[in-house]
Symmetry: C2
Subunit: 182 residues, 2 copies
């Protein structure tokens, strides 16, 4: 049994932190509350004239390292580690990789511990990673291959239009994910 | 058809650059000529008292970004790109990841171009990446899974004791690799 865990939006609160910085940096501009987010990419829902400013926030030093853990994620992973399964962190880095990639390693090191570093997979295409399950908040994960894994959607407003997939948070993973893998 | 290409020792001349820095930094110490290398890890063949100095070289800023391309590697990859196959760079970062991971992205960006960035896979375990072939200089690649890929050994003195695998360099890949994938 092998389970892949996505990072942004599943372990690390990418959307919450972005919104916090956006509102601090541009207090007079409109913002989209998390409950009203409808797209996976921020730039697809924010007005087009803000795209460069969004990229500036996401590509700045310390953006990825400053993401707070999602509620209960760290505790849940420590419980998953007790099971007799193979766990990997499977994450697609931001296109502007200068700070993102090392900060993803630093984040895992800091919050989960250095023994997770060899369990990290950074890939632009998750469909070529072989596993039983992938926990991920992205609604449409595509790539060159037909994935071997079944996706468990990590719930977020933007992915609630996605049907027919199992859906969980770290609040109810013991009811959704655990019976599938234990 | 999907082919994974390792980075250190296959695209980037890790061993050659290490030896160059070692001899410049410690001109009075013994060194191991490339033709006499017998182990995958440097620290397994250099005397034990030098391990920390080896790690210092490999973990210093600009070590990974300064690796020269291996002879004919860049040209060969541009030829492989013309084929109707899916190519990925599949590399395991150095344990001391601080400079290594971003410099691997920078290296690929610089020598192969930014369109390769989404084709990069950084993983501590290559056995979970699904492909037909992996070109790699490491003799014994293990992990949690039975790999789907067949390894093509990238020839280096340290891996010449490995039997029963196909063996190539970018000097003869058209005779060894090409007939398998085209």
């Amino acid at each position: 049994m092998r389970v892949l865990i996505d990072m942004d939006g599943v372990l690390a609160d990418f959307e919450g932190r972005f919104l916090e910085i956006w509102r601090e940096t541009y207090p007079k501009r409109p913002f989209i509350p998390l409950e009203e987010r409808t797209t996976f990419y921020l730039s697809h829902q924010y007005p087009r004239q803000y795209t460069a400013d969004i990229i500036d926030i996401l590509s700045a030093p310390n953006f990825f390292s400053s993401l707070p853990p999602i509620d209960n994620a760290i505790h849940a992973l420590s419980q998953l580690e007790q099971l007799d399964i193979d766990l990997f962190i499977c994450t697609s880095p931001f296109h502007y990789y200068e700070h993102c990639v090392v900060e993803k390693y630093q984040w895992i090191d800091r919050y989960l511990g250095s023994h997770w570093i060899p369990r990290m997979i950074l890939t632009g295409d998750k469909t070529v990673v072989d596993a039983d399950f992938l926990v991920d908040d992205k609604g449409d994960i595509t790539g060159v291959a037909t994935p071997s894994w079944e996706q468990i959607i990590y719930d977020f407003p933007a992915n609630r239009t996605v049907q027919s997939k199992k859906r969980m948070t770290w609040g109810n993973w013991e009811e959704v994910l655990l019976p599938l893998i234990a």
